[in-house]
Symmetry: C2
Subunit: 578 residues, 2 copies
Amino acid sequence: MDKIARIDMGAKGGPKVTIEPVGDYAGLGGRATTSLMVSKEVNPNCHPLGAENKLVIAPGMLSGTTGSMTGRLSVGCKSPLTGTIKESNAGGQAAQVLARVGYAAVVLEGKPEGDDLYKIIINGEGIKVEVDNSLKLMDNYPVIEKLRKQYGDKVAYMSIGSAGERLMLGASIACTDPELRPTRHCGRGGVGAVMGSKRVKAIIIDDAGFKHRTPKDPEKYRDANRKFVEGLRKHPVTGEGLPAYGTNVLTNVLNEAGGYPTHNFKSGVFKGGANISGEAQAELEIKRGGLATHGCHRGCVIQCSGIFNDKDGNYVTKQPEYETVWSHGGHCGIDDLDTIARLDYMDDNFGLDTIEMGVTIGVAMDAGLAEFGDCEAAIKLMEEVGKGTPLGRVLGCGAEITGKVFGVEKVPVVKSQAIPAYDPRPIQGIGVTYATSTMGADHTAGYAIATNILKVGGDVDPLKTEGQVELSRNLQIATASIDATGMCLFIAFAIMDQPETFQAMLDMLNAFYGTDLDADGVVALGQKILSAEREFNKAAGFTKAHDRLPRFFYTDPIAPHNQTFSVTDEELDEVFNW
Amino acid sequence: MDKIARIDMGAKGGPKVTIEPVGDYAGLGGRATTSLMVSKEVNPNCHPLGAENKLVIAPGMLSGTTGSMTGRLSVGCKSPLTGTIKESNAGGQAAQVLARVGYAAVVLEGKPEGDDLYKIIINGEGIKVEVDNSLKLMDNYPVIEKLRKQYGDKVAYMSIGSAGERLMLGASIACTDPELRPTRHCGRGGVGAVMGSKRVKAIIIDDAGFKHRTPKDPEKYRDANRKFVEGLRKHPVTGEGLPAYGTNVLTNVLNEAGGYPTHNFKSGVFKGGANISGEAQAELEIKRGGLATHGCHRGCVIQCSGIFNDKDGNYVTKQPEYETVWSHGGHCGIDDLDTIARLDYMDDNFGLDTIEMGVTIGVAMDAGLAEFGDCEAAIKLMEEVGKGTPLGRVLGCGAEITGKVFGVEKVPVVKSQAIPAYDPRPIQGIGVTYATSTMGADHTAGYAIATNILKVGGDVDPLKTEGQVELSRNLQIATASIDATGMCLFIAFAIMDQPETFQAMLDMLNAFYGTDLDADGVVALGQKILSAEREFNKAAGFTKAHDRLPRFFYTDPIAPHNQTFSVTDEELDEVFNW
């Protein structure tokens, strides 16, 4: 990762590739690279789909090494959905492969004239940008199927579906998993529309001839990694719950806690919850010859992914994540796993954020476009998105636009991004994260559920306001750092509870880079990333008035706890005071 | 105007009317009343279509008197289009009638449950709120036709069309003109959607039994009014240009100045301009038995309105205003007056802001939904709005939403409101107003065209940046005051050029209220209004980053002057430093 590739898609005479030394970004990765570069180089007032925006693709600090859990890829830009800076990350193979080929970042710049569509081929010989109009308006599964015939199975693919080409604000960027399926998505914030605006359909990354990246101290790295893996295997969340049931293990947990928003945030409990729980899902997957335990990238030891087959044993989609099951399920009053799996497949295929789309369909149901619980209607709405009809384009632009177009008052978004699967009224800590995150509503930005509900890293009562600001602050700082390492955020469960696992992670970083990073250094890195993001957002016009939840969370109590969100504005304004 | 009516549409058991003394709002009117009340009483973070928003309807300080030009009605709320505070005003009869019945303001509060539709009847006996579901989804012309059968022709009507009921963000509130046509609209900012959210379809105002409001010094008032009228008749704009050709007298002027944006702001000159000019329009109107000179309310001496008939002499619509002719015409590459008149009628009938809709159709054309210049296609797009199809709802929500849904980069809006008929690159002064107005892009908020182009009130070179901030500042202050008086903004031409006409206006105010308002007092009132509006917007999350034009005005020069907008951010930030 000693170089950065810049691809000027708007260069006269066609796209132009420039390779430069990694420079200031040496030793950084993931969200550190994307957010520092975007905040330094992108005009905060630019149009997100214009030539001035840049799409920065960066593997994590430890991606491409033999270290476990290091396969996260970060994508950064100004978000067309939120108007804020955006970092969206995904698993799959792309980060490992890109890192091994040696790129700390690939930066898509400018915007071509005309409507040619391009693909980018990255390998040991360099970077080629080629017109390939045969891919126009194809969706992710067929795109990958077509590209595999040309580029084979030993490469990683990134692609956008029709949604990204159509510049839908909910569009994602797909990364292929080890089985070459386009199932791991940089989902949030419309990053797929930014890739689409630059007319890049696919990126093919081939690390043939490259080996794993070499640590400064290989032995120490190996030892640290072994301890790190032991720690992950030991912790009940990463060693038991996630491998057995995937992220969807949370459905029953959140439903029991009364923090599972249903029917567009009207109740905190879903009667059909058990039907779509991780337990039910895993049982069904195994029964149908799918997989309940699977890694989304090589080197994963948690294995929270899976394969969902239909009743005849045919592949439908990867195991839908908890937030997907929630958004398309409980949020829409749907308790049928087959419907949810079908919608998950459509999201992946069209190239859309599953959270944004599920929440949007729930908002559309609230607008009267369909009945809550109507599986067929939900699928039909999604089909509109794939066809790119006017209705489909509205839905593909997410919950806020859909709410405006259809006059819905209750639209669960912060900074225009859909609120995920945890109600902030009975779980006040996650509300602090939604409100204040630099990314718009984003549970991963500071996953207070860990401490509020799962009692990982301490115990902060979810129903009370005390301690939530500090909790969210600490989590947001830690998360920004983890998002830089390239490690999957799920390591947080183990490193929050087990000091020796946290130390093992530090040892991996230090062994690899020859540094002496300690806990304070992790905090400093996280703060540096968040500060750069906050500065960008401020220049783009965001103020503390935007660090708030939608009004209805303050005015409408939700059953069963009958609480409103009651962290005060003044408290929220303290999140970034460190 | 000694009382205020509050109508709680959300009261348990049905809408509840409360009459209270005018109190703090005594001696105020129009925008002073609406903006001070909204900024005091409405939560800046409320949902604009929720129960917390209020719709304040206020006649001007001199409305309902024998004074000329005093028929403007202000409507204020938090805007669902812009998210800012909003004052939208219109001519027609409502202001005069409401003032005579004695209401300084009628305030619609709360929001009913269920989907009953209401009408409000205001007369000497008080205020009644009645369910009338027979009006559901009717458009303005048929609504008024129906209500006239019940309430007659000696009343003033306010109403919303299907667009307001459907909560479209471009929805207006119609006021009937002296001939009982729903042609005078509080157009901007989606105020019709706020009325729709409160489920109020129509307001019937009957001043039977009431006389003109009596000045403290009737003789002085009469004298001042006479001098005021003389001044208006003497000035070339208000005495000649506007009466002869209406506001559309500007088409040729702006086209010649290279400041007439066409084809979604791609050129500052429209080849077909002469075909849709005020001169051509007046000739056609007269030829077809319409009217080129007409007053939109009784007591108007400028008479810039008119009647547009079809080739068979049948009424089509009122004389389309300059900004309407531009938005549906030049902006869309359309140079056919019959098409423009038809679109103007559809706007009025569905209840939509003509500026927002015309700009939106141009943006839709840029997205490829129709060809520029295609008259039939433009009409078909508007028909979608009337039908409330998904596409129609998108368009009815205005240019910004349409741009997002269809992936258009070049969307001419400020604070989500469409930029009107004057390009800010060759006319830098109006760009300062667009950028900084508390209302979003709004030419009337500080009509720099007067001084930049018409050389009224001085001469500031439109192509240079010098003097534009001061010009816009002074105009915004003066406009806020004029919008409080209930006087038509077009008096500004005469009072800016003729000190004795300005004095006559002051004398009218002072004779009526027994005050001693001078020029400084007018400035102080304007500043007070703007400050209240700015405070509201700040609390709603608006910062100086929002006081900017869209990026393309800074990056894309426009022919024929090949200029970009070049007033600096620092200069823009000085507009409200007084």
